[in-house]
Structure formats: C-alpha cells, structure tokens
Amino acid sequence: MAGTGDAHLRGSDADILLRVDDLVVEFPVGRTGLKVHAVSGISFDIARGETLGLVGESGCGKSTTRRAVMQLPEPTSGAVTFEGRELTSLSRSEMREARTHMQMIFQDPISSLNPRRKVRDIVLEPLHIWKKGTKAERETLVDKVLEDVGIDPERAKTSQAHEFSGGQCQRISIARALVLDPALIICDEPVSALDVSVQAQVINLLEDLKERYGLTLVFIAHDLAVVKNISDRVAVMYLGKLCEVGPSDELYRQPLHPYTNLLLASIPVPDPEAEALPHEVVGEPPSPVLPPSGCRFHPRCPNAQDRCSAEEPKLREMGEGHFVACHFPVEGIVSWDETVLARQVTADGRAHDARDEPITVGGNATTPVPDSGG
C-alpha cells in the first residue's frame, strides 16, 4: 500500500472543516535508535457536515491519527488545519480552547466515564470547566442533551456509570461530547464493544444528532459494514498509510485496492447460503518499525510485482472522487486462494517477510520490532 500524495484533497472551494497534510507520527523504540512509523505521511480533508470513515486493522495508525489531529501528542511533522487555524502552531492554552470544538468518543464506554461520579455531573463538567452560562443555564442544557441522547436526566442525577448498560454509557459519552457544541466529533471505535442490536441504536443516534447539532464526524472503526452505513466518504489505512479514499457507496461497489478487497472479503456474511469469498491472506501486518519498502502492502499482496517493492504508489484518481494508491489496482475480488497456495509451496523470501511477527526488545514491552532471527 500505499501511498502518499495529496491528489485526493479538495480545493479551497469546498467548505473544509478539517484538513490534514502529510501527517507523520513516529515513536522512538527505547534506546535502540529505531522508530515506530505509526503514521507515515497521511493527508485527508473533511468538509463541514460530512462523515469520514477511517478503516483499517489494529496497528494501522487509525487511533494515532486521531490523537495527532487532537495534538495529543503533537505529530512528528505535518499540518492539521481546523476551522482555518493551523493547530500545530497554537500555544497550549489556545489548543485547549480549540479542543472544545473537536470532541472524542471512545471504544469502551464504561471505562471512559468516571465510575465514582454521577453521570449527570460527568456531562456537566465540560460546561463547568469552561464556565459556560449560569448554573441554571448549564443544567437546562445538560438535561436537554441527555434527553436528546435518550438518557433520563432524573436517573442520571442519581446514578453512576455502572448502573447503566454499555449502550447507555456510550449515549452518556456522546452527551458529554455534545454539551460544548463542537463542530467535529471524532468517534474511535464507538460501537465495537456493543451488541449488534445496541450498535444499531447508537449508529442511528449518531446520524440523528449529526443532523440536529450540525456535526461533522470522523468515524474510526474496523468493521467495514458499520463504516459504510454511517460514512459519506471512506479512507482505508494500512500500516500508517492511506490505500484508498472514496465516496462510501462507490468504494464498496468497486474496491480498487487489493487490501480493501481483502477486508471486504473477510466480513462474515449473515447468510449460510452465501459463498464465502476467498479471504486467506499471508501472515499479519508487518512491523511498523521497519516497514516494507515501496508499497507497504506488497509482501502480502496477491498482485504484487517487482515495481511494488521498489516504488511507493501515489494516490491517483480512478473514478469520481475515488482515489487509490496502488500500481496494479484490481477490478472485482482477487483470487486470494490461489495466490496463497502458491506462496505456501514456494515459501520464497518475500512471503516469509510477511510472516514476521512483532517481537519486543529490551524493556519496552509494547513496542514491536521485526524479527532478525527469521
């Protein structure tokens, strides 16, 4: 995969709320001098009122991107422009203020709420910190927002987070994000911890609130069906890079990147008669410490050719608003089976690379580095 480039960014005529240019986030690996290349040159933009879905597997840099946008911590390089302001140049207090316009919702709704406080106080706190309105105004607003997300304010006054179900806790988190009237809400896997029935309720709620509060959403998730449902545009990430960006329906109708095809084919279809699409793939994502050369997906890609390991593809337009970073984009689903079988027989060096698993080096338990022993 993929690639760098900014061909997919829209010009100044669109009403762009958030624009990220060539975002790079790297973390040092202990004292080894190595770096984890968490995000390597990502660019994207979001128009006001739009929902952008960000999909990819664990470790592809989705959450790091989210944190870098919020400047928590600041990215290694790159620019983040929000409401016309360059966030990387803001002072700490200016940044604190700017963050009130961009709120977050997290994956685990229960642990993102303080277990010792009444949930209404949790929702009230942002208003209190920013001294918005009088006490009475704050309370009226909080009750209204709680009503809007479907939580009884009276119950919220006397109850703590553990007295609510996971779906209700997620509603409370949404209420907390809403009280400061943000322009942008970044949802990081907001429904992946929920039951399918509750998941549907929360997605519908987000759609309603987006309308009512005039929100712009970034929706980060690994579930492609959920992302398709809620997003206007979808960006697919792999190992710190963008593979494919496009309008939701178009991208799912005609996925061009082999990685997008793999993700789509892996979704379990709730129909026993449906023929399972070939979804075997070689290994797991390689280490972001020493990412593969050229296209980062090439060691696992069934279409890979010599060019892919030598030259990094740039995002280019293949359909209306549909961009892909691939030298050999696909039409329709690739036959993963045959490729994988061939790989297993030959077990050449390239396939072997792909199987390298993250291991760790001295003292830094969470940072993967590639295997040297092989």
Binding site: S197, Q201, V269
Partner: protein, 367 residues
C-alpha cells in the same frame, strides 16, 4: 492435525465418552445466582443436544445467558450462591453438581474453552511453551521433551509460523491473533471432544477473525470435535455452525439447523437481531432496524413471552401467556412464539408497520 497425530497425543485412549448417542445432552438446565436483589435467573430451562463433531452456535445479546450456559456445562461457576438444576449429560457422565476436583480430569482432555480476550487468559509471566506443555504433562503424563515436541506440532497446526521460536516467547510478544491461536492450541492440546469458544473473535480484527474461525472449523473437522460457538453476531455463526440456538433472557427461544434458520426464521427476535446488522449491500446511510429497549431484568422477568415488551409484533396474549417451544415444518426447528414470522397476525402487523414507515426493509425482506 491428522487423526494419526491425534492418537499419538492420546496413547491408549479409552474415553468414557466414546459411546454412541449424542455427545452432550442438556435438559431443562437452570442456573440461578443468589444476589442481594433476589434470584437472577441467568439460565432458565434450556434443553438441547449436541452430536459429536457438530458445531452449535449460541446467539444472543449481552445478558441473555449464553456465557453462563457455557460455563455451567463446563462446571466453571463458583458453588457459592449459585443454584443449578436440570441435567447435563456428557457421554455417559453426569456433569451437573460436580466439584472442581471432580471436573479437573475432564477439563482439557474432554472439554476445553477458548475465551474472548486472549491476553488476559494467558499467563503473562509464563513462556508460551510452558503454557502449552502444562496440560500435556499433567493430563497425558508426557515427559518434558515429548511435551515440547507436541507443543511445537500444535503451534504448527494452528498456523503459527516459526513454532519453535514462539515456544520461548511470552504472550506480550505476540499479536492478538497469534495469542488467540495459542489459546486454541492449548485448548486442543489434549484432544478434547468438545470445544467451547466464547466470543473467540470479538477482540480481533476482521481479517484475523476470519482466519481464527476458519481454523476452529478446520480443527473441528480434522478431530471430529464438537464445537459450541458463543457469540452475539449472527454473521459469525452463519458460516461456521451446523445448528444455531438463539437465547433470550435465559431461555432458548429458537433452535434450528443453520440453513433452516436463515431461510425460515420464526422468532421475531431472531429476525430483529439479523436486521440490526449493517449490510454491505445496502447503500450508506440506510436507517438500521433496531430492537428498542434492552433485555429484561432477570430477577423479575416479564410475564408471558420475555421478549414481548420489545417486540413490534406483540399482542395481548404475548404478555399474558408464555409461549412453549413448538416444532416448525422442519422437525429439527423449534421456536417459542405465539405469532411467528409468516403467521397471519405477523403479516398484518408488518403491513401496518410498513404503512407507518417504521421498518427499514432489506431487499430480501421486500421481495
């Protein structure tokens, strides 16, 4: 793994469960927890059988009792403040009411479990090799080098590259998918006849999820091992089970062979669960069908059908009389509903709902 290598793991096996008849027979199983609020009826009268080598999917929302059901059968619940009744027959053995000491010879060798979170189910301070060889040495009486060789073969079976090196590593050095493979290798180590997989892929990425489900399925076939796959996702069970049991509020509300269930679901609850899954073939921003409210309090379950308060098709009878499990056209298909999908009352209500514009019809439903 092949049949021959399995017998190598279990030399001279004379299992007490190798008799004919179903492997597992659960009859009117009840598991109630004594709490300060009263008795929680987590599992309330569940009956089913499972044949050797078959895969059963147990589906339901959080709090439907599916995990408690699996743990009751495995004998993994504490004895204090837990009341169980009914019967669980595993081969020729009666499992219910056995102490942990009495169950221990069965855990691993006869039945094993794979849990949702592979990180917290592995011992972080123990090398992978030690964790796999432990049951081999304890149950099979293998020597150290034999056990290590078997462990390496098991890791290869679950498609872990460079198994010899992995044996010397700690859980934190592996990715989530690899850890779940290690969990499966441990569960398979002593060649169990039955494997419980409790939400085995919920913590994993979609590509890894597909790999793990494929792996469990392949091992089931190779070993003629029964699998009980517990999940909230109907999409997961559709392609990996022979039969599906849908649970709601501690009860089994519908059970059928997988294909029959998807072709002809009778319970409005099953249908609602299926509908709430976002579909790839629907355009974006399609309104998702939801199930309003949430599962009932199991201390005071509602009268009549327990799903009635959330059911769009409920009528007076539903809130008064509890529907029994009845048999559908397919004798293996049972369900508990007074007005099942396809009944005149259900169709009439469907038309009302469609007229009111309340239901997001999927293309399949509309046809």
């Amino acid at each position: 793994m092949t049949q021959s290598s399995r017998t190598a793991i279990r030399p001279g096996d004379t299992s007490r469960t190798d008799s004919d008849g179903p492997l597992l027979e659960v009859k009117d199983l009840q598991t109630h927890f004594k709490t300060s609020r009263g008795m929680v009826r987590a599992v309330d009268g569940v009956t089913f059988t499972l044949e050797r080598g078959k895969a059963l999917g147990v589906v339901g929302e959080s709090g439907s009792g599916k995990t408690v059901l699996a743990r009751t059968i495995m004998g993994l619940l504490p004895r204090q403040n837990v009341h169980t009744a009914g019967s669980v027959r595993f081969g020729d053995l009666d499992l219910l009411g056995r102490s942990a000491r009495e169950m221990r010879p069965l855990w691993g060798t006869e039945m094993a479990m794979v849990f949702q979170d592979p990180m917290s189910s592995l011992n972080p301070l123990m090398r992978i090799g030690k964790q796999i060889t432990e049951p081999l040495r304890f149950h099979m009486g293998m020597g150290k080098s034999d056990a290590l060789a078997t462990a390496e073969r098991l890791l290869r079976d679950v498609r872990i590259p460079e198994p010899a090196r992995r044996l010397r590593q700690y859980p934190h050095e592996l990715s989530g998918g690899m850890r779940q493979r290690v969990m499966i290798a441990i569960a398979l180590a002593c060649g169990p006849n039955m494997l419980f997989a409790d939400e085995p892929t919920t913590a994993l990425d979609v590509t890894v999820q597909a790999q793990i489900l494929d792996l469990i399925d392949e091992q089931r076939r190779d070993r003629n091992m029964a699998v009980i796959l517990v999940t909230h996702d109907l999409g997961v069970v559709a392609n990996y089970t022979d039969e599906i049991a849908v649970m709601y509020a501690g009860r089994l509300v519908e059970k059928a062979p997988t294909k029959t269930l998807f072709a002809d679901m009778k319970m409005p609850y099953t249908k609602a669960l299926l509908r709430s899954i976002p579909k790839l073939d629907l355009p974006s921003h399609t309104r998702l069908a939801t199930i309003p409210g949430r599962p009932p309090d199991l201390v005071n379950p509602p009268q009549g059908c327990r799903f009635a308060p959330r059911c769009a098709y409920a009528r007076d009878r539903c809130t008064q009389e509890e529907p029994p499990l009845i048999t559908a056209d397919d004798p293996q298909h049972t369900f508990a509903c007074w007005f099942p999908v396809g009944s005149p009352e259900h169709r009439a209500r469907d038309e009302e709902l469609a007229a009111a514009g309340n239901v997001a019809l999927t293309p399949k439903d509309a046809s």
